[in-house]
């Protein structure tokens, strides 16, 4: 691994940005895993575009070197889609929380999974809206048996099942308590040619007193070695098996490269835009 690449990712974004996460936040581990993954992938900050979601997790874009884009709540995947369509040479990440991705941004999660752009979505999943002081997110209730349901507190929404249903081509899960494994998942996600989702359980130490590090340690279980991630049936069976046993699978659950049309960078430099022939457009109007 080249030293220069290593140091550029090891340091926080230049100029240094003060990190404003609670001590012990699961997002720290994701930040470190991302740095390690980007180093392993030998990417430079100019080659990367980090699109942040709104919430604690989206701040990660400022703690890393690399180009970033930050828009509105729920929009990260859509900005990422446009950027990647225009410039496939960029390595594009959407970095967002569970509220951003699964509530206000669910429309993008569903349809951009279908579109299968070559981008990596990292959900930092903690079950709460932390920044607004702990309201339930769609992934709240993880591990709670949903016996009596009321409209105010619907049952847990599983991003893994959602992604599989919507046609995502790479689905993995990881846990901030095991950053080495998270790093591996991130590297594999970026290397996957298509839409890759990594749902990382990143505990909120301030507002989620149920899904704690200890709780995740007791419930997370590696995807077994014999699992065939290229089979959708196997993926569903794995998900159901883990559900029955009240466990959470971490590892690559599904990976199926879809045939992708080769994408070229769109013309954007002056010389590429000049001197076009309008005749093909006028032809049909006579």
């Amino acid at each position: 691994m080249p030293e220069a690449t290593k140091s550029v990712w090891e340091q926080n974004a230049a100029p240094r940005h003060r990190i404003q996460w609670c001590p012990g936040c699961g997002d720290f581990a994701v930040l470190n895993s991302l740095k390690a993954a980007l180093t392993t992938l030998e990417l430079t900050p100019t080659e990367v575009l980090l699109v942040g979601g709104i919430g604690c997790s989206g701040q990660i874009r400022n703690y890393l070197n690399g180009n970033s884009f930050y828009g509105t709540h729920g929009g990260a995947l859509a900005y990422a889609l446009g950027a990647k369509m225009v410039n496939p040479e960029l390595t594009v990440f959407a970095l967002a929380g569970d509220g951003d991705t699964l509530a206000i941004g669910i429309e993008n999660f569903v349809h951009i999974s279908r579109r299968d752009p070559d981008i990596t979505l990292v959900i930092m999943d903690n079950g709460v809206y932390g920044l607004t002081k702990g309201q339930d997110s769609p992934s709240a209730g993880l591990g709670h048996p949903a016996k009596i349901s009321v409209e105010e507190h619907p049952p847990f929404l599983d991003p893994v099942k959602m992604a599989l249903t919507c046609g995502a081509t790479f689905i993995a899960q990881s846990f901030s308590g095991d950053p080495k494994h998270t790093t591996e998942m991130l590297v594999e996600a970026v290397r996957h040619k298509g839409f890759a989702m990594v749902n990382d359980f990143s505990p909120c130490v301030t507002y989620n007193k149920f899904n704690t590090y200890d709780w995740f340690r007791a419930h997370c279980e590696m995807v077994p070695g014999g699992h065939d991630p290229s089979s959708e049936d196997a993926a569903w069976e794995l998900i159901r098996d883990f559900e029955r046993r009240e466990k959470l699978p971490v590892g690559v659950i599904f990976r199926k490269p879809r045939e992708k049309a080769p994408a070229k960078r769109l013309p954007m430099w002056q010389a590429e835009l000049e001197g076009i022939d309008l005749e093909p457009m006028l032809k049909g109007l006579r």
Partner: protein, 624 residues
């Protein structure tokens, strides 16, 4: 005999009768023949099938000033009844709705396949009626119902003594169907001949030598296209360098998306049909941030959904051209009717304050030429640029000389930082500058990174709430508008002599009708002038004030209830204005504008509302 000067209306049941098949065919053939066709008024409904649809065409030798009044010379009714004895008689729709607009001595031609229509009242006014069983001829004689419109076209051509040797029609049919073999061409030509013969029979039976109207091809027609505003806009945008377009299906902006999908890939670009309105604008913002000149298009309801992203474009300083083909609101409103109700939305929509520019095209040619300016302004000022058209302008068609598109305006000058520039000075995406415009290095270009941030930020792009930094950044962004007003804002286009009488003020698609009204007022001895705005926001106060002050009085004509431009003018120039307002879904007609001007000048009306039962004069006061 009226030669090459008429208003013709084709009506029928939407989709079933193919109203636009005939008007499109007429528009193309007559444009080729050197005539000018203006079809800027569209009468269709928000259903796929079944409603009454009508398309008026103004046909002239020189470009028409406007679409004129409601009066018609020729009415073509395509309706028929599946069950002629049924209680519903839609085959009378065109005649019932538009027959009263036929001028004395005009012509009615209708499909009489399912029975004749009582026309005594029309004939009493000297209107010549041609009952042509077009559908019957098509189904019984030619065994192909779809050619019924060609039967009607042939009949119409015979009436107007046009294309006697079938040259124009044949050429168009060969281009369209030639690939499928000569049978289809011949069938269509035969259909046209049957139509001609049917008219011939009526002419000789009634002993008429002609109908008083004739179309004559021009001797050396200049090449022209029969084009819609949406198509002209796409051509202009692609020429300017737009390579990423996103839209979501919505009337009347869908055809921008379709035309982009047809052509953008040819130029290396991509057109994205968003899964929703928000995905469209967000993807376009991502695309713009990644380096492509980007554009989106929508109409009012879609624009409402995109409002939060206006702020993203403004604060992240990501250039974006936002086309709003306006339709009648609020909410779903009247989806197939035109209006100018979105001016407040584009000048003020969104929380907080951002730099933004609003342009409005006043003709199909301007859809082509002004969009170039919109792309350039977005690139220059790194902010959202709104481009307003409306349903009539976007979906309406007219003959435009091809020379307009050969002006070679080329791609806009890209204003991006290079690697060298970034390395020489320390690259700061949001550097505070005198002009307010900061250097922009595309992600992927070496020499620096961009932290593109919709949160308030410092020069590097990092989040800040530090009061001095916030003020500096807000001031920097807003300074761009000062710069724009100094360098790029334009005064209204002025027609006629200022200071001699009333000043008619408008924006967008109303320009033709205001010019027509001005002409008519001139004929009455009233020296009216017209000031028409294309550059609406930031409002060019310094450039417009003296022009507006010369109006005696200033009469702002708009398709909305409040008088949105009128409000802006009053707020910015302190010039008191009178308003002529129409929001019934129909365009202004010159005669009613003239009438409204009289209401203002003679009777002191401060606001005249048109298009209800009668012109309603309201808010009369003596001191305004």
């Amino acid at each position: 005999m009226k030669v090459n000067r008429m208003k013709l209306l084709v009506g029928g049941v939407q989709l079933r009768d193919g109203v636009s098949t005939i008007t499109d065919l007429l528009g193309r053939i007559l444009s080729r023949a050197g005539l000018h066709v203006m079809a800027l008024e569209r009468g269709f409904a928000s259903t796929i099938y079944g409603a009454h649809q009508y398309d008026p065409l103004v046909i002239t030798e020189e470009p028409a000033v406007s679409w004129g009044d409601e009066a018609l010379d020729i009415l073509v009714g395509l309706e028929y009844d599946v069950d002629p004895d049924g209680p519903e008689q839609p085959n009378r729709d065109s005649v019932f709705r538009h027959g009263r607009n036929l001028v004395d001595g005009g012509v009615l031609i209708y499909d009489s396949s399912s029975g004749a229509i009582p026309v005594d009242a029309l004939e009493a006014r000297g209107i010549r009626v041609f009952a042509i069983p077009a559908r019957q001829i098509a189904t019984r004689d030619l065994k192909k119902e779809v050619v019924k419109n060609v039967v009607m076209t042939g009949a119409l051509f015979r009436l107007l003594e046009f294309d006697r040797d079938e040259q124009w029609l044949r050429r168009l049919l060969e281009e369209r169907f030639g690939r499928k073999g000569p049978e289809l061409v011949n069938l269509n030509l035969e259909a046209a001949r049957r139509g001609r013969a049917a008219v011939e029979a009526i002419l000789s039976q009634r002993g008429w030598s002609n109908v008083g109207y004739r179309l004559e091809p021009r001797p050396t027609p200049a090449p022209a296209v029969y084009i819609s505003g949406n198509e002209a806009l796409v051509i202009g945008a692609i020429e300017a360098g737009v390579r990423f377009y996103a839209g979501y299906p919505i009337t009347p902006a869908s055809s921008i998306l379709e035309f982009m999908e047809d052509h953008l890939p040819r130029y290396g670009g991509r057109a994205l049909q968003g899964s929703n309105e928000r995905e469209s604008i967000r993807a376009a913002l991502g695309a713009s941030a990644a380096g492509a000149l980007s554009m989106i298009g929508t109409s009012g309801p879609g624009l409402s959904l995109k409002v939060e992203e206006f702020g993203v474009s403004g604060v992240t300083e990501t250039p974006l051209v936002i086309v709003d083909a306006m339709r009648a609101g609020p909410s779903t409103g009247m989806p197939t009717k035109s209006e100018q109700g979105d001016l407040f939305l584009v000048t003020g929509g969104g929380h907080g304050e951002i730099p933004r520019i609003v342009l409005a095209a006043s003709s199909i040619e301007e859809c082509y030429s002004l969009i170039h300016e919109a792309v350039l302004l977005a690139e220059t000022y790194q902010c959202p640029v709104f481009f307003l058209t409306d349903l009539n302008l976007g979906e309406g068609r007219m003959t435009v000389p091809e020379a307009v598109f050969r002006s070679g305006q080329g791609a806009v000058a890209r204003q991006l930082a290079t690697e060298q520039q970034a390395r020489e000075g320390r690259y700061l995406r949001y550097r505070i500058t005198d002009s307010g415009v900061s250097p922009r290095l595309l992600p992927g270009t070496r020499g620096g990174i961009s932290k593109i941030n919709s949160t308030e930020h410092d020069e590097f792009g990092f989040v800040t709430t530090d009061p001095p930094k916030r003020v500096a950044m807000m001031d920097k962004r807003m300074r761009k508008m000062t710069k724009y007003l100094q360098n790029d804002a334009k005064p209204p286009q002025v027609f006629g002599q200022l200071g001699k009488g009333p000043l008619l003020v408008g924006w967008g698609s109303t320009r033709p009708v205001l010019l027509d009204a001005q002409k008519r007022l001139q004929a009455e001895g009233i020296n009216a002038a017209v000031a028409h705005f294309t550059h609406l926001w930031p409002f060019p106060t310094a450039l417009a004030k003296s022009i507006l002050e010369a109006g005696k009085p200033v009469i702002v004509c708009e398709h909305n209830y409040i008088g949105q431009l009128a409000e802006i003018i009053q707020a910015h120039t302190l010039v008191a204005v009178r308003r002529v307002l129409k929001y019934n879904g129909r365009p202004f007609y010159p005669a009613e504008v003239v009438r409204a001007v009289h209401e203002v000048t003679h009777n002191g009306a401060t606001a005249v509302r048109l298009g209800g039962k009668d012109p309603v004069m309201v808010e009369v006061s003596t001191d305004a």
